[in-house]
């Protein structure tokens, strides 16, 4: 027995909202997109194939709505895409240092060009595979990888705050480069913030 559509949607709404914000990068536009997306899912629920991933299907609807309809309409209406302040979009917490770091990372990603930002969010936030991301965005996998590469390079520059190692410098230590391991200054600051909050190394 599979979940009903309303159960699927109920479970997905927080992630769908996040994806809408990621696409629109502005609260008001994200609200329009989110509402439209829920209604479009409603209208097209017969097209959903039971047994396939609902999130995949819903995210593609959101993407198509944004790129094919809402984005151009907002441009025509002259409302633009001014990015909201980070405080409006992410939750606050008690640990100030952690929140500063979290806000920096969030802001850096939201500053990326739209195509790179969406690819990075689908892969690293939503956890889709490269192929699934390509399918949602309806582009070749190579395009996704290219967007990820460009986006990651931009984030590296932004997040390192000048720490990017020059080719051939003494800092260029190959031993520090391993899968799933980062040497960025953010890591040190995150661990520091984590230790202050009584946590351990969940995020490292």
């Amino acid at each position: 027995m599979s979940l009903t559509i309303d159960e699927e949607l109920e479970a997905l709404l927080p992630r769908l909202w996040r994806f809408c914000v990621s696409l629109a990068s502005q609260r008001a536009a994200a609200e329009d997109l989110f509402q439209s997306c829920c209604l479009r899912i409603l209208e097209r629920q017969k097209q959903f194939t039971v047994g396939t991933r609902f999130d995949h299907w819903a995210f593609r609807i959101a993407k198509n709505l944004w790129f094919n309809e809402l984005r151009s309409r907002r441009v025509r209406e002259g409302r633009g895409f001014a990015q909201d302040s980070v405080d409006d979009l992410i939750a606050k917490g008690k640990n100030a240092e952690w929140m500063v770091l979290r806000a920096e990372v969030f802001k850096a990603v939201m500053q990326l060009p739209e195509a790179q930002r969406v690819a990075i969010i689908l892969v690293y936030v939503e956890g889709f595979s490269y192929a699934e991301t390509a399918d949602i965005l309806e582009v070749p996998v190579g395009t996704v990888m290219s967007r990820l590469a460009t986006g990651r390079r931009a984030l590296k520059v932004l997040s390192d705050d000048g720490e990017v190692v020059k080719h051939g410098s003494k800092q260029n230590d190959k031993k520090s480069i391993e899968p799933r391991q980062s040497t960025a200054a953010f890591d040190t600051r995150l661990r520091h913030a984590t230790a202050k909050s009584g946590g351990s190394t969940t995020l490292s």
Binding site: L3, D6, L9, E10, A11, L13, P14, R15, W17, R18, V21, S22, R27, F34, Q35, C38, L39, L42, D88, L89, I90, A91, G93, K94, N95, W98, L101, R102, V105, F106, V109, I121, V123, Y124, V125, E126, G127, Y130, G142, M145, S146, R152, K156, S159, H167, G168, N172, D173, K174, I177, P179, R180, Q181, S182, D187, S197, G199, S200, T202, L203
Partner: protein, 263 residues
């Protein structure tokens, strides 16, 4: 190492390597090349960002994301319609009504208002974020082979009881809609963290985890963490979380059932 070796690996492969998504042979080839190829080291370093931090930053949006519990009146109204004339209420129309109601109530409740963004929740305990990250790696297949018989289940529960100092019996893991699959002891901050793994009838993995955490209150809290729904509570000595990619309603019901069992 020659420059040709540097470009033997494309950006796509380097990203897959950093993401841990590259097959063993190519991963080994990159690691071999890295030993004496500074240009390749540089290219890799250029791409090396901490993706877990990105996920954490965006997961924080979920805490204040709109919730969409259908109003209690909605299902009953729909049910009444169905009872009066089942043929007149097709699934699409029910669905259309439910989502429209959901949206109307949501708007009325102000979850599109600016205040929704400013209404921030408490910081999610660190160990719960770790649990969510771990649980997120589970697939429909993960618990497939874990089908303990009653004796094995009792042995596993006895073991985690000894490790945690909190008694868990087979009766206590009897949850409607969930099948007990496995009990194991993990660890965080030098303390045991117990994972009781369950699956739904569809095989979707759900975990009930607990560790010593006196800060967690006995009020059941709902949070979406790392894209998973969860319900959490405490008993004054231990903190508990039940989490999975399942409807929040199932977790709430299970949490309400389980909380008194761990008093």
């Amino acid at each position: 190492m020659s420059s040709s070796a540097t470009y033997r690996f494309g950006d796509a492969e380097l990203i897959a390597y950093l993401d841990g998504r590259l097959d063993d042979s190519r991963r080994q080839a990159i690691e071999d090349a890295l030993k004496d190829n500074s240009a390749l080291q540089y290219r890799l370093r250029e791409l090396d960002v901490n993706t877990l931090q990105i996920r954490d930053a965006f997961d924080s949006m979920l805490i204040s994301a709109p919730t969409a519990d259908l109003p209690p009146a909605a299902p009953s109204l729909v049910r009444r319609q169905v009872q009066c004339d089942p043929a007149s209420v097709s699934k699409p129309s029910r669905w259309r009504w439910a989502v429209a109601a959901c949206l109307m109530v949501a708007v009325a409740a102000g979850w599109f208002a600016r205040s929704a963004f400013d209404n921030v929740g408490e910081e999610i305990p660190h160990w719960q974020v770790a649990v969510a990250d771990y649980q997120r790696l589970y697939t429909l297949e993960t618990l497939g082979a874990a089908q303990p018989d009653p004796l094995q289940a009792a042995q596993q529960l006895n073991k985690v009881s000894q490790n945690s100092g909190l008694t868990v019996t087979t009766e206590m893991v009897d949850i409607p809609g969930l099948t007990f699959r496995r009990a194991q002891t993990l660890g965080i901050n030098g303390q045991p963290l117990i994972q009781l793994a369950f699956s739904t009838a569809q095989g979707v993995p759900v975990a009930l985890c607990f560790t010593r955490d006196k800060a967690t209150t006995d009020t059941i809290a709902k949070n979406a963490i790392a894209g998973l729904n969860s319900s959490s509570w405490g008993n004054g000595e231990f903190g508990f979380i039940i989490i999975g990619d399942v409807p929040q309603k199932l977790l709430d019901t299970s949490a309400q059932l389980m909380a008194p069992r761990f008093l």
